[in-house]
Symmetry: C3
């Protein structure tokens, strides 16, 4: 693997290397999510809020390669099965990464993914919330490496998500100083 031929401080993979690692796993970053700015659908909050060397990343939802919100819609454990929910969670993490890259320029400035707050739009009786996000968590660790990609996590069921999407993830990210 040629990713490490040039000397790099531990954990400081740059955007090009991270995109290669995603590609090796059959994944790629989408166009960053564009929240509609039309009256009635605009949102007066920031997708990524930078405060000194910390990023507060708003709740993200699954998007397609063009950055448009995409289904499936509905409750996990009922309308949406586990495997489909896992794919939606992976797409959501890819959208998070794309938003962070857009905010900071190059992903090499990411020192650490601090935490992911993961929510499932869950049907009554569904309880396997960690499983929904395990492939997404693993992809984040694989893409950024264990130093930068490690993260604390919460994975719970909520009563509803915007537009009846099956999953949503919010994150906090530390940047190098």
């Amino acid at each position: 693997m040629t990713l490490h031929t040039s000397p790099q401080p531990a954990g400081s993979l740059d955007s090009k290397q991270i995109r290669l690692r995603l590609e090796e796993r059959g994944q790629s970053l989408p166009t960053p999510w564009q929240v509609p700015s039309t009256p009635g659908s605009s949102i007066p909050a920031s997708l990524v809020r930078r405060v000194s060397n910390r990023l507060y990343v708003s709740g993200h939802i699954p998007t397609d390669a063009d950055g448009n919100v995409t289904g499936p819609y509905g409750k996990v454990g009922d309308d949406v099965d586990l495997a489909t929910a896992q794919q939606a969670a992976v797409r959501t993490v890819l959208s998070l990464i794309a938003s962070v890259e857009k905010a900071v320029g190059d992903l090499g400035v990411v020192e650490a993914w601090c935490s992911l707050h993961c929510m499932v739009n869950s049907a009554a009786g569904f309880t396997d919330f960690p499983a929904v996000f395990n492939p997404a968590s693993q992809l984040l660790v694989d893409a950024f490496g264990p130093d930068a990609g490690a993260h604390a996590r919460v994975a719970v069921g909520v009563a509803g998500l915007p537009w009846d999407l099956p999953v949503e993830i919010e994150a906090e990210v530390q940047l190098r100083t």
Copy 2:
């Protein structure tokens, strides 16, 4: 507008200016929320927890002008309609601001609202969570200006909120050093 006649670093509106901006929008800060201290109803957590220059603001709920918890009560999309929930969310943000002011003395020390974690006590089938909090988010940006008032946000539906209130908001705030 006379708000900016005295030189101010960008984003450093003080309490007086922020109260004027709220007044121009038909709003005002309530008396800060007083959690009951009677046995059985006291809460051994801090409404605002300061750790160096960071404020962790506990989940706030709608209060009236005197800082007392106020209805309407019930689930948004069923007992409480969207417009009423939006008003409750605005009252909740005003209560958050009042608690922060009480904790820090003058709101001019607020460098940034980092994030709002917004929760709706939602009826089955209701999914328009962002809309519930958009007027509240907009008011925060308008009151503090775009530099300090910008914030990341999550807006989701939960299964229940204390006292069956329709909305709750938790926040993180960065102070100037």
Copy 3:
């Protein structure tokens, strides 16, 4: 009380002192929670994620003295009554403390518990979420003292928790520099 005979900066109780304070209240730290590492049940997230002097502590659940996840299972207000849920929340906070101690070595490095994000697996109609976590919050303040143990808190009802457990708590902790 002999806890304070040796001079200590305010709030800097060490692990031994904190364990004594817990013991005085009839409590003790469990063996730290070990997430299974068998295929299918491993979790590619960190129980405690340290980023400079901040700990992001993943959602914790009730464990027994040996660090194994333990029931009761089910929804608070239906399968699980308030008193039982309070005991589960206390066990969860003890598990949080044990995980933090494992991560940092000695609890004397904890400068502040910043926030607890408390979730109840709630039955329809149950709304007394703060009461579920009040004994747990009080124990944290009692064990670490008011300087380090104070914390902001959110306590809400969610639609479901992993393995149908009744409560889950996530935390953020600041360490001394």
